[in-house]
C-alpha cells in the first residue's frame, strides 16, 4: 500500500511537471524587419535573459535571409511567423490595403529617417531632379510626402541594402537611417558634413518607426500572451539601456550566428542611436507610448495626398494597447 502511494506520488509529480513545462510555454516565431543587428537588441536581450520565458513564451527569432526582397510583413501574412517588427507607415499602408494587422507595442518614438547628399542641402529643392537612393522594399513614404509638400521631384533609385551606391557616386543623395546606413556611410567616407544631411525628425516629420505587429486574428486569440510579449520586449529594451556592454555582447553573438558582416564598433553606434530614438519627445520618458493621435491623424492626411492610401486608417483599428 505504502509502496503504491509512493509510486503514484512520484508519477503525479512527474506528470504535473511535464504538464507544467508543456503547457506554460507557448511557442512564437518572431521576425525582425531586417537582418540581425543592434536595431533589435531589446528582443535578443529579452530572449537571452529569459524575459519571454517568464511570460510563458518560447520565442524563436527568425531573421530575413540576407538578399531577400520580401518583407517581414509578407511572412506574417503568410503565416510563416507569428509576430514581427515593422515600421508604422508601411503597416498603415498594409492595413489600408485590407491586410488585417495590428500594432501591439510602439518601440521607436522618433523618426530616424535621413537624407545624405554629396553636396550641401541648403534647401530641399536642391535635390530637384537628382537621383536619390531608397530601399527597394520601401520605407520611403515619409520622404515622398516631404518632397511632395516641398514640390520637389526626385528620381528614386532603389537599392537592396548597401551604401556603395552613394559612395561610388552613382546617386546624388540617398535615404538612410540615422542608426544604420548613416554610420556605414560615416565609416566608409571618414566624415559627413552635417550641411549635407537632412533629418526628417527635425523638419516636422517626426513619425515613429519600429513597432511590434501581429495579425488581427492572432491578436484576438492571444491577447494575454501578447500582453506578456509586449511586457517582455519592454523589459528587454530597458535592460539593454541599463547594460549596454552586455547587450552589445548579445547582439554580436546574434550577428555571428547569422553570418552578418559587421563589427562591434558599428553595432555600438547603432545601439546608442536606437536607444536615443526611444525617448518619447512629448513626455521625455522611455515609455514606449503608442503613437500620438494628433500626429497619427496628420500622417494619414499626408499618406492620402501622397497616394499611399485611399482613405485614413482608423487609429483604434490599428493601434492596440493592453491594460497592465
Amino acid at each position: 500500500m505504502r509502496f503504491l502511494r509512493y509510486i503514484s506520488a512520484i508519477l503525479l509529480v512527474a506528470a504535473s511537471s511535464a504538464a507544467a513545462s508543456g503547457q506554460s510555454l507557448t511557442s512564437m516565431r518572431f521576425r525582425p524587419q531586417w537582418t540581425a543587428q543592434a536595431q533589435f537588441a531589446g528582443y535578443y536581450v529579452a530572449a537571452e535573459k529569459g524575459f519571454f520565458k517568464e511570460e510563458g513564451i518560447a520565442l524563436q527569432i527568425d531573421h530575413l535571409p540576407l538578399n531577400s526582397t520580401e518583407s517581414s510583413l509578407d511572412a506574417l501574412l503568410r503565416g510563416d511567423v507569428d509576430v514581427i517588427s515593422n515600421q508604422l507607415i508601411p503597416s498603415i499602408v498594409a492595413r489600408s490595403q485590407g491586410r488585417k494587422i495590428v500594432n501591439i507595442l510602439q518601440v521607436s518614438q522618433n523618426s530616424a529617417l535621413m537624407c545624405v547628399s554629396h553636396s550641401p542641402i541648403t534647401a530641399p529643392d536642391v535635390l530637384h531632379g537628382h537621383r536619390v537612393g531608397r530601399w527597394k522594399s520601401g520605407f520611403h513614404e515619409l520622404a515622398e510626402i516631404f518632397f511632395n509638400d516641398e514640390h520637389v521631384e526626385v528620381e528614386w533609385v532603389p537599392f537592396i541594402r548597401s551604401i556603395n551606391l552613394f559612395v561610388s557616386g552613382a546617386v546624388d543623395a540617398t535615404l538612410c537611417y540615422s542608426y544604420s546606413e548613416y554610420f556605414e556611410l560615416l565609416l566608409a567616407m571618414g566624415e559627413i558634413n552635417p550641411i549635407c544631411t537632412m533629418r526628417f525628425s527635425e523638419l516636422g516629420y517626426n513619425i515613429p518607426e519600429d513597432g511590434v505587429y501581429v495579425t488581427e486574428q492572432y491578436y484576438n486569440s492571444h491577447k494575454e500572451l501578447l500582453a506578456g510579449f509586449a511586457r517582455a520586449v519592454r523589459k528587454g529594451w530597458d535592460y539593454a539601456r541599463e547594460h549596454k556592454d552586455e547587450a552589445l555582447d548579445i547582439v554580436m553573438r546574434e550577428i555571428e550566428k547569422n553570418n552578418v558582416s559587421s563589427n562591434r564598433y558599428m553595432q555600438k553606434l547603432m545601439l546608442d542611436e536606437i536607444l536615443r530614438l526611444q525617448l518619447n519627445p512629448i513626455t521625455s520618458e522611455y515609455d514606449y507610448a503608442p503613437v500620438d493621435v494628433t500626429l497619427y491623424d496628420y500622417l494619414q492626411k499626408g499618406l492620402v495626398s501622397n497616394g499611399n492610401i485611399k482613405s485614413p486608417v482608423e487609429y483604434g483599428s490599428l493601434i492596440k494597447t493592453f491594460e497592465d
Binding site: I160, V167, Y265
Partner: protein, 635 residues
C-alpha cells in the same frame, strides 16, 4: 692628507670624464641623428617603391579581368539578341581566363525580352571538375540583380566599375569582387552589364608576402572603405579603414585614412601596436587605396644595434679613461703630498725636512723651488730672530740690574729723630728713571735734594747717577747751598755734549734754628704747610736748571720755619700726572691734598697717600713721567 690628495685626483679625472662624456654624447647623438635621418629617408623611398611595385603587380591581375571583358564586349554587342551566343560567350570567357570565377551578361529589366523581367546568362566554374563550367539564368525574385551594386552602379555611372567586395552566398559561396562593364546601345543607353567575378583570395594571394621588414603589413581597401585585404582576416569585409581609428579617436590614422580614400599617394607616420610606424600609400588605377605599413623598430633595428654597440664601446672607453687618467694624475701630483708634508714639518719648526726633488721644469718645479727658497729664508730669519731675542733678553736683564743699582743709589732709610721726619720715594716711569732725591743729616743740618733729569729711561738714569754722586760729594764740603748747586751744575755742564739738564731743589735745614737755606734750579715750587694754616707754594728764585751753563751763579734764599711745618718736595711727575683724557693733576689739587697732610700718621704714610691719590687720579692711565715725592715734617 692622503685622502684629500686622492679626492683631487678623483675630481680631476671625473671632470675629464664628464667633459669627454659630453663630447662623445654630442658626437654620438649627431651621428645617430644623421644615420637615422638618412635611414628614414631611404626607408621611405624603399617602401614607396616596394608598394608601387606591388600595386603594379595587382593592377596586372586586375587588368586581366578588364581585358577579358573589353575583348568580349564587342562580341556581346554583336550577339546581344542571341541567347545561345550570349551563354557561349560567358562560358568562353571563363574557359579562356582561369583566373576568373564567374562571367555574366545581365540585361536591364525587360531589356532582352519585353515579356521577361530578368535575363542574365551566367557561368561559373565547377570546382569539382576542372575546366567544367555551369551556365544558367541568374535573375529571379530572390536574386533581383537590377538592384544589386555590381549591376546598378555601372548602369547609373555609365562607366566600368570594380565593385566593392561582397559575399556571394547565392552562387559561389565566395567573397568576390566583380568588374562590371555597362553595354550601351546606339542611343547611348545602358541595355546590359557585362561582368566577371574574381575571388578575393586570388586577388590578394601575394599581398601577404609583401614584407620588406619582418613586421611589415599591407592593407588593400575598397572604394567604400572596407578591407579587401587585412592581415587580420576577420576584418576583411567586416570593418572599414575608419572603424578602428574612429572607435579609438585616433586622429592620426583618421587623417591617413582620409588621404587614402581621397586617392592620394603619400606617406605618413603613425602609432602602431608597438611603436611608430611608417605608412606609405598609393591608389590602384581602379580606385582602391593600398598601404604598406612598416614599424620603425624594424627599419632602425640594424642601425640601432650599431648605435647601441657604439654606446657600449664609448662607455667602456670612458671608464677606462677615467681610471687611467686618475692613475696618471695621482702619479704626477705625488710630489704635492710630499710638499705639503714638508710645509707642515716646517711650520712645526723643523727646517731641515726633506723637500722632494723635482726636475720637470713645469709648475711643479716652480712650487719646489719656492718651497726650497721659503725653507732657507724662514730658517735664517728664525736664526736672526733668536739672536735678537737673546740680546733683548740680555738687555732686559741688564736693565733690571741697572734699576736695582739706581734704587740702591737712593737713600732708603727713614729719618725720624725727634727733630725732623722725612720720607721719599721715586717711581720711575720705565725700568730706570730720571728723577732723583737725596738727603742726609750732618751735624745740625739736614741736606735734602729732589731733582728731575730731562727725559726718562737709561740716558736720564745715567745723568741722574752723576748728579746724585756729585751732590753727595759736594754737599759734604760744608759750602753754602748756592755754591753746592753751582758746583753740581759745573760738574754736569762740563763736557755735556747732550742737551740734558736736571732741575733740582736743594735745601739745607738748620735743625736748631729751623732756618731753611735753599736753592731752586728750575724746579717745581715746594709746598709749605704751616701748622694749622693753609698750604702755599714757597716763592723761589728760579735760577736755571743744572747742566746747561757752566759757571752760572746760583743764588740761594732762606726762610725760617716753625715747628710743625710740613714740606712737600716733588717732581713734575706729580703735578703732570695724566688721566686718559690728558687732563693733569695740577697744582691746585696738590695744594688741596697738602691741606690734609696732617691726617697722615707719618711721612711714609703721606708719601704713600699722594702716590695713592695720583693712582686714583690716573685711573689706570699709563705713568708718563717719573714721580718723586718727599714729605718732611719739622717736629
Amino acid at each position: 692628507m692622503k685622502g684629500k690628495h686622492k679626492r683631487f685626483a678623483d675630481r680631476l679625472s671625473a671632470n675629464v670624464l664628464l667633459i669627454t662624456s659630453i663630447l662623445i654624447l654630442v658626437t654620438l647623438t649627431i651621428v645617430a641623428l644623421q644615420v637615422f635621418t638618412d635611414l628614414a629617408e631611404h626607408s621611405r623611398e624603399d617602401a614607396a617603391r616596394d608598394l608601387h611595385t606591388e600595386i603594379l603587380r595587382m593592377e596586372e591581375s586586375l587588368e586581366e579581368a578588364e581585358v577579358a571583358v573589353s575583348n568580349a564586349s564587342w562580341v556581346v554587342n554583336d550577339m546581344r539578341k542571341d541567347e545561345e551566343a550570349l551563354k557561349r560567350i560567358t562560358r568562353q570567357i571563363l574557359l579562356s581566363n582561369p583566373y576568373l570565377r564567374g562571367a555574366s551578361v545581365s540585361f536591364i529589366p525587360y531589356g532582352f525580352d519585353p515579356e521577361v523581367k530578368y535575363f542574365a546568362p551566367y557561368s561559373i566554374r565547377n570546382e569539382a571538375v576542372p575546366d567544367a563550367v555551369f551556365t544558367f539564368q541568374r535573375g529571379s525574385v530572390d536574386y533581383d540583380y537590377p538592384t544589386m551594386d555590381w549591376f546598378q552602379i555601372p548602369q547609373l555611372l555609365g562607366k566600368p566599375y570594380w565593385s566593392d567586395p561582397y559575399f556571394d552566398e547565392n552562387n559561389t559561396g565566395l567573397q568576390l569582387v566583380s568588374y562590371a562593364y555597362p553595354l550601351k546601345d546606339d542611343a547611348g543607353s545602358v541595355y546590359a552589364v557585362l561582368s566577371v567575378d574574381v575571388a578575393l583570395t586570388d586577388l590578394i594571394g601575394l599581398v601577404d608576402e609583401l614584407k620588406p621588414y619582418p613586421n611589415s603589413m599591407s592593407l588593400l581597401v575598397a572604394k567604400n572603405g572596407s578591407f579587401i585585404y587585412h592581415p587580420d582576416k576577420s576584418r576583411i569585409m567586416n570593418s572599414t579603414i575608419f572603424s578602428e581609428p574612429m572607435e579609438a579617436g585616433d586622429t592620426g590614422w583618421i587623417g591617413i585614412a582620409r588621404d587614402m580614400m581621397a586617392g592620394k599617394t603619400g606617406l605618413a607616420e603613425a602609432e602602431g601596436w608597438s611603436g611608430r610606424v611608417l605608412v606609405v600609400y598609393e591608389t590602384l588605377r581602379n580606385g582602391w587605396p593600398m598601404a604598406l605599413i612598416s614599424p620603425y623598430r624594424d627599419i632602425f633595428r640594424d642601425s640601432s644595434r650599431m648605435i647601441n654597440f657604439l654606446v657600449i664601446v664609448a662607455i667602456l672607453s670612458l671608464l677606462a679613461l677615467f681610471f687611467v687618467s686618475r692613475k696618471m694624475i695621482l702619479r704626477q701630483t705625488q710630489p704635492i703630498t710630499e710638499f705639503s708634508f714638508a710645509a707642515l714639518s716646517m711650520a712645526k719648526g723643523n727646517f731641515q725636512s726633506h723637500i722632494p726633488e723635482v726636475a720637470s721644469g713645469d709648475e711643479m718645479q716652480n712650487l719646489h723651488d719656492s718651497l726650497e727658497y721659503m725653507q732657507k729664508s724662514v730658517s735664517s730669519y728664525i736664526a736672526e730672530l733668536k739672536a735678537t731675542t737673546a740680546s733683548n733678553e740680555r738687555y732686559a736683564g741688564e736693565l733690571d740690574i741697572a734699576r736695582k743699582i739706581q734704587l740702591n743709589m737712593l737713600p732708603d732709610f727713614r729719618i725720624n729723630d725727634g727733630r725732623v721726619g722725612l720720607h721719599a720715594v721715586m717711581c720711575p716711569a720705565k725700568e730706570v728713571g730720571g728723577d732723583l732725591f737725596d738727603y742726609q743729616i750732618r751735624d745740625k743740618y739736614l741736606y735734602f735734594l729732589v731733582g728731575d733729569v730731562s727725559g726718562k729711561g737709561v740716558p736720564a738714569a745715567l745723568f741722574m747717577a752723576i748728579t746724585r754722586a756729585a751732590f753727595r760729594f759736594i754737599s759734604g764740603l760744608g759750602l753754602d747751598i748756592s755754591k753746592i748747586v753751582g758746583r753740581v751744575n759745573n760738574t754736569l755742564a762740563e763736557g755735556n755734549k747732550s742737551t740734558m739738564f736736571v732741575t733740582l731743589f736743594a735745601g739745607k735745614l738748620d735743625l736748631e734754628t729751623l732756618e731753611l737755606h735753599f736753592c731752586n734750579a728750575g724746579h717745581n715750587p715746594v709746598v709749605i704747610v704751616p701748622p694749622g694754616g693753609k698750604p702755599y707754594f714757597l716763592k723761589v728764585k728760579p735760577n736755571i736748571a743744572c747742566g746747561l751753563f757752566e759757571g752760572f751763579a746760583y743764588e740761594s734764599e732762606s726762610i725760617t720755619l716753625e715747628k710743625g711745618t710740613r714740606l712737600f718736595v716733588y717732581t713734575d711727575g706729580v703735578t703732570e700726572a695724566e688721566k686718559a683724557d690728558k687732563s693733569q693733576y695740577g697744582e691746585d689739587r696738590l695744594l688741596e691734598w697738602a691741606a690734609g697732610m696732617d691726617r697722615y700718621a707719618d711721612e711714609e704714610a703721606a708719601v704713600e697717600g699722594i702716590l695713592s691719590e695720583l693712582r686714583t687720579f690716573a685711573a689706570g692711565n699709563e705713568q708718563n713721567d717719573d714721580i718723586t715725592a718727599m714729605a718732611i715734617t719739622l717736629k
